[in-house]
Symmetry: C2
Subunit: 282 residues, 2 copies
C-alpha cells in the first residue's frame, strides 16, 4: 500500500486517482497468496499505478538524478579502489555501498563521505574466499542489477572482475530498478553486455524471464545478484549464486540469519549440490 501510494504520488497529484490506486491495490491483496514474493506483488502494484495514471515510468526523474549524482563521484570511487590494498574486496564494498547510501539528498562531498563510512562497515556474512575460488575458474559472469544509481557503483566491481560480464536489467520500469536505458546512462555498456532478463518485477523472477535469459542464467560460470529484490526472487533457486545485499526488512534478515540493516555477501549453494555434512548450516 505504501509503495502504491509512493509511486502514485510520483505519477500524479490528482487525489481521486491516488484514492483509486489505493482502492484497487487494497482489493488486490485478497488475490495474492501468502507465498507470493514482494517482487511479484510489487509488479502488480506497479502495473496498477501505470494503468490508472498512464505514466509508464514514475521514477524516471528520480532515477536520472541518482545516476547523475553517482556519476559525479565515480572518479573518486575509482580512486578509492585503486588506493586500497585488496582492490577486488574494495570493489565489492563499493558495489554494496551503492545499495546502502541514500542518493538524492546529498552533495558530492557528503556522498563520498557516506561511501567511505559504508566501506568501513563489517559484513555480517562475507563469503569472499569462496568467491575468489569461483572467480579464478570463471570465464562468464552474470551480474543481476538492482537500482538505478547503484548501477554506477556496479560498474566499478564489474571492471575489477576482469571477465566477460553480462549485466541483467529489468525489462520494464519498476520502482527505481535499473532498466536498459538506466544502465546505458550509468555507462555500463562500456564494461558489460546488457541483457533484459524479461522480468518486469522488482527482482529476477525466473518464471517471468525469457528463455534466452534463463539459458544464460543456467550457463554462467558465476552469478552475482545485487539487492534484496533479487534475493527474494532467487534465494531458493536451483543454482549457485553470490548474493550481495543489505537486509532491508525483517523477513529477509531472518531468512539470512542476520540483523536488519546488515550487509551480506553470501554464496548460495542449492540443496542438491550441497555435501551431506553441510545440510542446514550454510
Amino acid at each position: 500500500m505504501h509503495q502504491a501510494l509512493r509511486a502514485g504520488r510520483m505519477a500524479t497529484r490528482a487525489e481521486h486517482l491516488l484514492k483509486r490506486i489505493l482502492d484497487e491495490t487494497g482489493a488486490m491483496i485478497k488475490s495474492l497468496p501468502l507465498q507470493s514474493t514482494p517482487a511479484e506483488s510489487g509488479m502488480l502494484v506497479y502495473r496498477k499505478v501505470r494503468e490508472l495514471t498512464g505514466v509508464r515510468d514514475p521514477y524516471k526523474a528520480v532515477k536520472a538524478a541518482h545516476i547523475k549524482e553517482a556519476r559525479a563521484i565515480y572518479p573518486e570511487l575509482i580512486e578509492i579502489k585503486n588506493q586500497s590494498e585488496d582492490e577486488l574486496r574494495t570493489a565489492i564494498r563499493i558495489a554494496i555501498a551503492g545499495n546502502v547510501i541514500d542518493l538524492g539528498i546529498n552533495k558530492p562531498l557528503e556522498l563520498v563521505k557516506d561511501v567511505r563510512r559504508t566501506l568501513a562497515a563489517e559484513f555480517a556474512i562475507f563469503d569472499y574466499r569462496a568467491f575468489k575460488a569461483r572467480l579464478a575458474e570463471a570465464k562468464t559472469i552474470l551480474y543481476l542489477g538492482d537500482n538505478a544509481g547503484e548501477s554506477v557503483f556496479d560498474k566499478i566491481l564489474i571492471q575489477e572482475l576482469k571477465r566477460k560480464v553480462v549485466y541483467a536489467v529489468r525489462s520494464a520500469p519498476i520502482i527505481n530498478d535499473v532498466t536498459r536505458e538506466d544502465a546505458m546512462a550509468s555507462g555500463l555498456a562500456e564494461v558489460a553486455e546488457l541483457v533484459d532478463s524479461g522480468s518486469a518485477a522488482p527482482g529476477t523472477v525466473l518464471e517471468m524471464c525469457t528463455p534466452d535469459f534463463r539459458q544464460r542464467f543456467d550457463a554462467a560460470d558465476l552469478i552475482i545478484s545485487k539487492g534484496q529484490g533479487n534475493y527474494e526472487a532467487l534465494s531458493d533457486c536451483h543454482r549457485q549464486v553470490f548474493f550481495l545485499l543489505k537486509a532491508k526488512c525483517v523477513v529477509v534478515a531472518e531468512h539470512l540469519g542476520v540483523k536488519m540493516g546488515d550487509i551480506v555477501f553470501k554464496e548460495h549453494v542449492p540443496q542438491s549440490r550441497r555435501p551431506q555434512a553441510e545440510m542446514g548450516i550454510s
Copy 2:
C-alpha cells in the same frame, strides 16, 4: 493496513488469520470515502480484527502495563506540579506529556526524566489565557480521554481544575484508547464522573455518541479534548472546545498550521460564533 496488522498481531499468531485480516481490510478501503476520518476507518479495521480473531481487546495487556507504569510515577508527577510556580499550567503540561512520552519501554526513573524533558517543550499554540478566562466562569467540565496510561496523567490536570469533571471514555475497546475499565484502573473514578461517549471509534465521533453524551457535550461549560483521535473527530464541531494534543501526522499538523511533532493547546471557536474579523485566522 499497518494498524490492522499491528492489532492483528496482538490478537493472534496464526498467519492465515493475519492474512485474512489484511485481505478483508484491503478490500474495505474501496468502501471508505476520502472524507472519512481516521476515527471512522480505525473503528472498521478494529471491528474486523475482533470479528476474525474473536479477541475483544487485543491491547488489553499493553494498556494494563501502561497504566501500571504511569501509576508508578504518579506521586512524582504530583510533586512536580506542587513545586511549580503555575500549577494549572504545569498540570496541562503533564497531561500532554502523557500523550508524548512512550510508555512501555522505560523504567520509572527514565520515565520521570522523559516527562521532565517534555515539560520543558514549547507549545506551538498555547491558548492559556483564553482557557483561564473560560475556566473562571465554568462550573461543569467535560474531559475527553485519549489513551490508557495517558489517562493517569489526565488525573493530575482534572484535580487541578477544581471543578465537577465528567471524564468521557470509549464505549468499547479500540486500539489503546481508554475505556471505562481502563479509567477505573487509572484511578479516575476518584476525581471525575466516568461516562461512555457511545463512540467505539478511536475518537469522539458525535454521530456515534449516545443522546445522553451529546446532551452533555452541548451543555458542558468547558470541554477539554485530549489527543489526535478526538481532534480529528471534532476539529470542525459546532461548539467551543480546547484541544490538547501532539500533532502526530502531517495532515493534522497542516490543519493546525504547526509542524509534525508539535504540541498544541488550542481553543476551537465554531465558525458561527466567531466575530467577522477573525474569520480564517484562528
